[in-house]
């Protein structure tokens, strides 16, 4: 370990942002984690104070600070409500990278990120193999939700998880490069690893919707993860490798917009890539800028660019089922996208939309938070589950595959009969009805 002085110096990079926090404590009212634990180190104010203390060398416990910094969903609820406009997520992400670099990664994470995630082709092969053998280790618990649980004692604990898809999207639909049709628009599709490997049907729904609207598609093979799992664990090296790899697959000149069905990917490419572009070459930085400006969530693209939902307006057919919507933090809080997914759902005449209580409250997943602090993650998720159950809906839609995993786990464990779907699936289904009529 290098000296504390050196760490304090590194943290100066976030100093200008840190001093903006006036310690008013208003973030306590929205932090889902603080609501569970009531611990000041679990809310933004406490974490910011810890970073400040480290920077000022008031105490010398980088490992303690890092632990507490990692107990965070990175949901952005605090930032979205902060009266001072503290860019909490930017600070946390940068600080995790700084502390991660300072303290070094755990051997397990090193293996996971450097040897697997950061090597997309190998990662794909390992996952394909995993999907072939997983039935030995897991058994199905809920057909409606498609969840499974571990057969034996496992590191996954009590989770009811979605198994890996038998055939990932990149095998079902290899690279595409179709020209713009009637719409005159061509989009790049960034699939994201969860959609590729766990929810390929969501990816297919995206492609179907694009075909329907005669939108050209550029979907290169060999796509890598957007990098957020590595970055939020403080592994700058793997993160950078992933960004570079993706830059090499997506030349910004090939398409008008880059769309993704993953709220986390969208906000990562839009906001985090430019934020963390400091150590890229000038040319790479420019590409990051162009790409990030073109990146849109799929529902935002469909509604704002294609005016899709408005154009449909199909007739009501028969009895309508109740559906509700969970706002992924990365869509609503980071990107301000919340009306578009709702109008996409409303475009499906089979459903009646009903808002649940606290639709924008974090589901508790938070990526690696769910792996490291499962009990807390589940406690936060239960409140979401209770709100969904209380809405009386038979389906819940959302816009992020990570949320889909968490909702499935929570609903499955509670034994609810509520289906979890991506908004784009709901919308794609409406297109079938239209074609028939």
């Amino acid at each position: 370990m290098r000296s504390m002085k050196h760490l304090a110096l590194l943290l100066r990079e976030v100093e200008d942002q840190l001093v903006v926090c006036m310690r008013c404590g208003m973030c306590q009212s929205v932090c889902p984690l603080f609501a569970e634990t009531g611990r000041e180190s679990d809310v933004a104010r406490g974490k910011l104070a810890l970073l400040d203390g480290l920077m000022q060398e008031m105490f010398k416990d980088p490992a303690g600070v890092s632990d507490r910094l990692n107990r965070c969903l990175l949901c952005g609820s605090c930032a979205a409500n902060c009266p001072s406009g503290v860019r909490v997520l930017d600070i946390f992400i940068k600080a995790r990278a700084i502390l991660g670099g300072y303290m070094g990664l755990s051997p397990l994470k090193k293996l996971l990120f450097r040897q697997m995630l950061a090597r997309p082709a190998l990662f794909d092969r390992i996952v394909e193999m995993g999907s072939r053998f997983q039935s030995l280790f897991i058994r199905s618990v809920d057909d409606l939700l498609g969840t499974s649980c571990a057969r034996f004692q496992s590191p996954l604990g009590e989770r009811h998880f979605k198994a890996l898809a038998a055939v990932p999207l990149h095998v079902r639909t290899p690279a595409l490069n179709a020209p713009a049709g009637g719409s005159g628009i061509k989009v790049g599709v960034f699939v994201g690893c969860l959609v590729d490997k766990v929810f390929p049907e969501v990816g297919e729904a995206v492609l179907k919707v694009l075909r329907h609207h005669e939108v050209g598609v550029f979907m290169p093979d060999g796509q890598a993860c957007c990098g957020i799992p590595a970055l939020s664990s403080g592994d700058l090296e793997s993160y950078r490798a992933l960004v570079r790899h993706n830059l090499s697959r997506f030349a910004p000149g090939e398409f008008d917009h880059l769309i993704t069905p993953c709220a986390t990917c969208t906000s990562t490419i839009r906001k985090i890539w430019p934020l963390m572009a400091g150590d890229l070459s000038a040319e790479e930085r420019e590409r990051v800028r162009l790409l990030s400006e073109k990146t849109l969530d799929v529902s935002q693209f469909l509604v704002d660019v294609l005016h899709a939902a408005l154009a449909e307006g199909a007739e009501e057919t028969g009895e309508r089922r109740l559906i509700t919507y969970h706002d992924p933090c990365h869509l609503r809080k980071s990107l301000g996208v919340y009306a578009q997914p709702r109008s996409l759902i409303r475009a499906n005449p089979r459903y009646a939309f009903r808002e649940m209580a606290e639709p924008d409250r974090c589901c508790g997943c938070g990526g690696s938070f769910n792996l490291q602090h499962y009990e807390l993650s589940a406690a936060i998720g239960r409140r979401k589950r209770d709100n969904i159950a209380a809405s009386g809906c038979s389906e819940v839609a959302t816009g992020c595959p990570a949320c889909m995993l968490q909702l499935s786990d929570m609903l499955s464990r509670a034994g609810d009969r509520v289906r979890v779907r991506h908004v784009v699936e709901v919308y794609a289904e409406a297109l079938d009805d239209n074609r028939q009529s």
Binding site: V19, M22, S29, E40
Partner: protein
């Protein structure tokens, strides 16, 4: 330092999860919302039962450890900074609403209940708990009572202290003391509740609070009056009061604040206005109509350029959103925000506003002012960067000047934020040497080892 044995004792009492001895954890209880230097406590504990709270206080007393009780830590006067080290007792694990009595219009709560949650629970029963500090989304009722917190509705409905019917609290030995009752009238014994309200954790630790509730007013109407001269706005305030109308809320915003709010929220405020008054009247429908038109007449009579009455609930919300955004909007302009709460008799508001302007230019500082004009409680808000040493010393001088000015006008150092650490050295100026000594004698008699929030309010 606190020994391992004592920590183990706390852990046995409260559970390991509720005792924080780690340096990093303790560091997160070293500050509050005041712009003051942090001080590290030796230990932090978080009781989840009344018994745990009392025994924690007793343990501290037996070991002569300073006790700093902490609700949400939103006070603006350093009340929860553990200035003498010792133990911080966090109350947010004591967050049960024990009773809401609709027949007798009172509620019994634990001290860690969040104010807004309580207000909502009460409202869902068709009742009303008026005190609404700007921090209500996170502040606790215990903290509110200990600071005698006020809010936007103070003018007509009073402050937290006006709603405390009774209390039970732990004294410095951890013994339970009870005062007041579940009745509106009670003269049994000394008025200890009166002593405890505003005591900032220096005389006892609240365990239960009995709060008065009232019926929800049937109707309300909000309006926004625009002035091209701040003096005219202030005259309108005096005019409304003199006309014997008591609005629920009567708020003032100066031009700097108006522009900041508009830049921030685009609420459609008139950016060239010198001042705005945001007014709400409530009560029975007929009286609301009459009060509203009289308020309108007074404002026009004192030269309001325009007056907008909210016709719908959405318009009303917009008016109050603008007011609630004031601090946020100002806070976004500079890294450090010093929110003061000097309060003057209402008729002296024009003079105070003038002085604030003079102070801002004398010390070359940016000061945005808004506040509860109706009760004379202004919030001059100094925008600065604490890292700029030269400017910071001008800020400190300006704060002194603001206090001096408020006192000169017959006002007070604090309308609602308390004295804590931040203003304890000024208290003698407002009162007298004898007052401080008298207060210290009370404190010494009740807390001979001086363990309850030592150093706060009356110094040492």
């Amino acid at each position: 330092m606190i020994g391992r044995a004592l920590i183990a004792e706390f852990e046995k009492l409260l559970g390991r999860d509720n005792v924080f001895a780690d340096e990093a954890d303790r560091h997160t209880y070293s500050y509050d919302a005041a712009v003051l230097d942090p001080v590290l406590p030796a230990l932090v504990v978080r009781p989840t039962s009344s018994e745990g709270l009392g025994r924690s206080v007793r343990l501290c007393g037996e070991n002569a450890l300073p006790v700093t009780v902490r609700g949400a830590g939103t006070n603006l006067s350093g009340g929860t900074i553990p200035a003498r080290g010792g133990v911080v007792i966090v109350t947010n694990g004591l967050n049960r609403i024990l009773e809401i009595n609709e027949a007798d219009l009172y509620a019994v709560v634990e001290p860690g209940v969040v104010t807004a949650r309580f207000a909502a629970a009460v409202e869902s029963r068709g009742l009303f708990y008026p005190p609404d500090p700007g921090s209500q989304a996170v502040s606790t009722l215990g903290g509110n009572v200990a600071e005698n917190a006020g809010g936007l509705r103070g003018l007509k409905y009073g402050v937290t202290g006006d709603y405390v019917l009774g209390l039970s609290f732990f004294d410095a030995n951890g013994e339970i003391v009870k005062t007041g009752a579940r009745t509106v009238k009670c003269v049994a014994g000394y008025n200890l509740a009166g002593l405890m309200v505003g005591s900032e954790g220096t005389l006892g630790v609240f365990d239960r609070i009995i709060l008065k509730l009232i019926p929800i007013p049937a109707a309300r109407k909000a309006m926004l009056a625009v002035f091209d001269d701040i003096a005219k706005a202030c005259e309108a305030v005096s005019g409304i009061i003199a006309d014997k109308i008591v609005p629920a809320t009567l708020e003032l915003m100066d031009n700097f604040t108006i522009r900041a709010v508009e830049d921030y929220g685009h609420a459609g405020l008139p950016v060239d206005a010198a001042a705005l008054l945001l007014i709400e009247v409530d009560g029975h429908a007929a009286q609301v109509e009459e009060d509203a038109s009289r308020v309108e007449a007074v404002c026009r009579g004192r030269g309001a350029m325009s007056l907008r009455v909210a016709r719908t609930a959405a318009e009303r919300d917009k008016v109050w959103e603008a007011r609630r955004a004031a601090l946020s909007a100002l806070a976004k302009l500079k890294p450090t925000v010093v929110l003061e709460d000097a309060t003057v008799p209402r008729s002296k508001i024009p003079a105070m506003m003038n002085s604030l302007e003079a102070i801002a230019s004398r010390y070359r500082l940016t000061i945005g002012t808004f506040g509860h004009a109706g009760d004379g409680n202004l919030h001059p808000t100094i925008l600065t960067d604490r890292r700029d040493r030269a400017e910071w010393s001008r800020v400190e001088a300006a704060i002194d000047a603001i206090f001096d000015e408020a006192l000169k006008l017959g006002g007070t150092l604090s309308g609602e934020h308390g004295i804590g650490l931040a203003k304890s050295r000024f208290l003698e100026k407002e009162t007298s040497r004898a007052t401080i000594l008298y207060s210290r004698r009370i404190k010494t008699a009740l807390d001979p080892k001086n363990i309850l929030n030592p150093g706060k309010i009356i110094g040492e």
